[in-house]
Symmetry: C2
Subunit: 439 residues, 2 copies
């Protein structure tokens, strides 16, 4: 992408409404624009990161055997009356009447709808296990939306739903998602810690929240710091195998949110030097809730014994739009964002120090073509402007590499290459720079 | 994908509510499930086609220089009061109040919001031209939703918005989208005809609708049949060049919807043998409306002369979800769908005639691995079941190729390869079959 043709409305001033760094940076970088309280437009740069995150989630869900569908944003109120949650859900549910006065709602989650889809066609244990997921916009009418995408009202969530014949198989499904979540967050450069947690309005008695440690996190968390060193399941982990060892490994060391924190157990189990009391950003949560929805909604499957029983279900959420904020909270400096390679909106910034200079333009065009061909998705700053402002803008948006090409360097046969994360700068030939970026 | 692990709830009976073939087939193929009137869940097979269509639209928008962002589904009523459309829009607009009694609406289109985004940062002619697009769910509260995705209420639309300094540049933007649309529909295997059309609630005095001819189309159309033979702009068309020749070529021959049909002109201009009166499915519409939104909403840009003037705008819609229906209407037979390669949910069905037979399983697994590696996205039917039912199911979902592998053939060193579109069957070695599919 050439910057002169892009839409990157950087803000010079930090908007006063933004209280945390991720919100400030997303506004300043021209990634996000508020359209109403807790409702945002994703500007081009922000959308690119959102798509990268979404794709990592999708790849890992597919790898774990989940199947993607897409449920609509609006749902019938009557569906939620079947489970009994329509009245329970309270003011966070956005309730709507259409032109014929039919009651709809903007889905805050999809347990009811996916159970309805499942029960319409699956009748036999032979069709199990099933895990259906979608990545769709949700709405929760928060009393006080704040912190940008951290607590928005219209937000993007991946939610998966597992269906099994019995509790043992249901727990295997839970374990698959647990292992998959470890991989998802790790691929984004995050250290996510599964914590024992409350189940809230989803229900059930088994649940873990995945938290990223950050000072600006909304939850207090308590854990054994050795949990930060545990290994992530490899890419070729066999999701058909017994994954209970991985789950056990990750849930033996103490880790709990303040809602379920057990101070006595914490002090008994965790050596003082390993105790960590911190703030966490919740980026995912997994639930096993058995027949909470399948029984009232009559989603029954016939077992090999000929007996019908309600499907054993779990649900598994990832806060896709919130993850943008969490990644920035975890990876930034005073100059701006520092994107991990896997989710960077562009792989490299090419900074043309003298647009209009034929040699510089030509070198930039050559680098742009080579990096595009190599799949590095370059952003070429071909605009006029003060060099200092160009550097500051590229530091602000935080692409992993900056390739700086100017007339003086070219006369000496060299360019400059900067790694954003470390600030390290090298002066080298263009060819060597391209090689380093593509390594 | 292995069918045993997929979620493909085929219907044996044709649902009585489905009046047109695309709606019937989408339900029977397990692509779609109605969740409320005009509101659908996209089941896995349907979602795969939707994503393919979306990606073609995205690639062609990017090629034409448009930049993708993503605006939210919900909008503030006050934004629509700025343009004066809040009261004009009528009962099709879904109006919502949140917990604080603030007035929101589910966006039916985005002229106001994109104008607000534009005016917040673009102030100078130097930043023009700009074309911003998104692919987002919209809602129009149709009085009588019907025909499945053809006239749904929650639907997926690509909408692009161009901003230019003067009318001449605005018309160049219009021409770029016009040419891009010709490419978009052609890539999906469709013959779309641009027709002079009414501008309706979007406004302006220049507009074309793109129609696919089909008996079940909702609009009456009149055209010179020679328009069907006109050339599509090539992949390397230069969007920076003057495209008025392409637009002129496509708009000189008579083509108009019934709303603006001019019978006298039609009879004067079109030879009787070339007259075609048919039904059309509208799959896209382009508008140029000048300052209709930019003037009341004060989206002004400063020209090189230092004078501020309202941006000249156009908007450009593609009915992404409707296109699924249009493609099926244009490409099916009595046995089911016939997907054009570019939008097929999977590239090839591998039909295992004897699951559990070691040699057949092994041959199928080998073909599956080879076709996956070649990017052909195979669907492997590894389920038990009557052979006749398996063939019927694969004809129904209509993947471009069927690779049929059974014990008798394998004993003779051969498999069967069927092309869905022609019904042509060949008996050949597995190696030759893979080569033919990948050719």
């Amino acid at each position: 992408m050439r910057l002169s043709r892009y839409f990157l409305p950087l803000l010079k001033e930090t908007p006063s409404e933004a209280q945390i760094v991720s919100h400030r940076l997303m506004l300043r970088c021209g990634m996000l624009r508020q359209e109403a309280a807790g409702i945002y437009a994703w500007l081009p740069l922000g959308l690119r990161v959102l798509k990268k995150i979404e794709q990592i989630v999708r790849e890992e869900m597919d790898r774990a055997g989940a199947v993607e569908l897409l449920m609509p944003t609006l749902q019938l109120a009557d569906l939620w009356r079947e489970s009994g949650r329509y009245d329970d859900y309270g003011a966070e549910m956005l309730r709507i009447k259409d032109r014929h006065e039919r009651e709809l709602l903007y889905g805050p989650t999809n347990e009811e709808m996916v159970t309805e889809i499942f029960r319409a066609s699956v009748k036999s244990y032979k069709d199990l296990p099933k895990n259906l997921y979608h990545i769709q916009w949700k709405f929760r009418d928060e009393q006080r939306p704040r912190f940008g995408v951290m607590r928005g009202r219209e937000f993007l969530m991946k939610d998966a739903y597992s269906f099994d014949l019995d509790e043992e198989a249901g727990r295997r499904a839970y374990n698959r998602m647990f292992a998959s979540y470890l991989r998802i967050f790790s691929r984004m450069g995050l250290k996510a810690i599964p914590m024992r947690a409350e189940t809230g309005p989803i229900g059930g008695d088994l649940s873990h929240e995945f938290h990223i440690l950050a000072e600006t996190g909304e939850s207090g968390v308590f854990c054994d710091r050795r949990v930060l060193e545990l290994p992530i399941p490899p890419e070729d982990v066999d999701y058909d195998s017994d994954l209970s060892g991985i789950v056990k490994q990750w849930t033996t060391l103490y880790a709990a949110t303040e809602d379920v924190h057990d101070a006595a157990r914490y002090e008994a189990e965790v050596a003082p030097a390993d105790r960590m009391e911190a703030r966490g950003i919740e980026v995912g949560q997994v639930f096993f809730f058995g027949d909470k929805y399948s029984r009232p909604m009559k989603a029954f499957v016939t077992g090999p014994d000929g007996v019908d029983r309600p499907a054993q279900m779990g649900s598994y959420g990832v806060g896709v739009s919130r993850l943008l904020g969490a990644i920035i909270e975890a990876s930034h400096d005073d100059a701006g964002c520092i994107w991990p390679d896997a989710v960077a909106p562009f792989g490299v910034a090419i900074i043309n120090l003298r647009p209009g200079d034929a040699a510089v333009d030509e070198a930039c065009a050559g680098a742009y073509a080579a990096l595009t061909k190599a799949g590095k998705e370059p952003l070429l700053d071909d605009t006029d402007g003060r060099v200092g402002a160009k550097f500051a803008a590229m530091d602000l948006i935080g692409l992993p590499w900056q390739l700086i090409i100017g007339p003086k360097g070219l006369a000496d046969g060299v360019v400059e290459l900067k790694r954003r994360a470390t600030g390290e700068r090298q002066t080298l030939s263009l060819e060597a720079a391209l090689k380093a970026i593509c390594a």
